[in-house]
Symmetry: C2
Subunit: 156 residues, 2 copies
């Protein structure tokens, strides 16, 4: 029985998890595999770009955010998955040596109309660095099992 | 001098790249690092979920898509980066053994109002499997250097 169900994510609630350090080695390893643009691989190459130095791939920041949400609550939840992402914003570079915190806001929550055992929760995630600056924001919807399924017809 | 500039992405154009094979080993390696939910790590665990078997993390499908776009044109382009993603849809599971093609549609293209050397292109990407099914879609905006900067005032 997982700890977190749909009922545990109350609209308006804001919670944080972390911090997690980000290393040069992992920035370069991710980029080499999935996004080998020079500014994600090399300090000098990054200096000549808008990023102003080595910075993680935006996709790496999303992957780190996902892992933090797994370690925080997703792996101990009734998650049934997500249909996708509504928006990602890469606002500031994610740097080697940064220490990041994940802030989670419950934007919206509703019972499934068709499945009484499911609820649907919309989150806004923010990755925040050690200076309090928001690096990445992400809005997504996740389906969770309910602790107590709706009575027949009650959620239609 | 990169090969691809803003001028090379014509609204309405549709092109494809690939195919690329997807292996069980890489699905599990990505998941172990960034999204260790059981259905991304283990065939039996996946069978009990909506995914119906082992399937790649949605974030892995995005990372593979990014790598394919790099190998196809991004690394030989005047890209200045992206402010983020407008939408991701995970429509079907990405499976071990799949062979995927990347389809790129230029949705919109405009000159930068403030920077005469830049243009802004909106793409829709679709990852398509060997059965012709769309697995993942992604809409994003990328800034590119122009081959021929606008005359002063011309793009204001």
């Amino acid at each position: 029985m997982p700890r977190f169900h749909w009922e545990d994510f109350k609209p308006g609630s804001v919670e944080t998890y972390g911090p997690r350090p980000v290393t040069r080695e992992e920035i370069i390893a991710f980029a080499a595999e999935y996004d080998p643009q020079p500014m994600h691989l090399d300090e000098d190459a990054g200096r000549g770009t808008l990023l102003g130095g080595l910075a993680a791939s935006g996709w790496h920041s999303c992957a780190i955010l996902m892992r933090m949400s797994c370690d925080w609550f997703m792996l101990d939840s009734s998650s049934q998955g997500s249909p996708g992402i509504e928006e990602v914003r890469w606002l500031r570079p994610l740097r080697a040596g940064d220490s990041i915190t994940l802030r989670r806001t419950v934007v919206d929550s509703r019972a499934s109309k068709s499945k009484p055992a499911l609820g649907i929760t919309k989150f806004k995630y923010e990755l925040v660095n050690q200076a309090g600056e928001v690096v990445t924001t992400l809005v997504c919807t996740i389906m969770f099992g309910r602790r107590e399924p709706a009575a027949a017809g009650a959620s239609a």
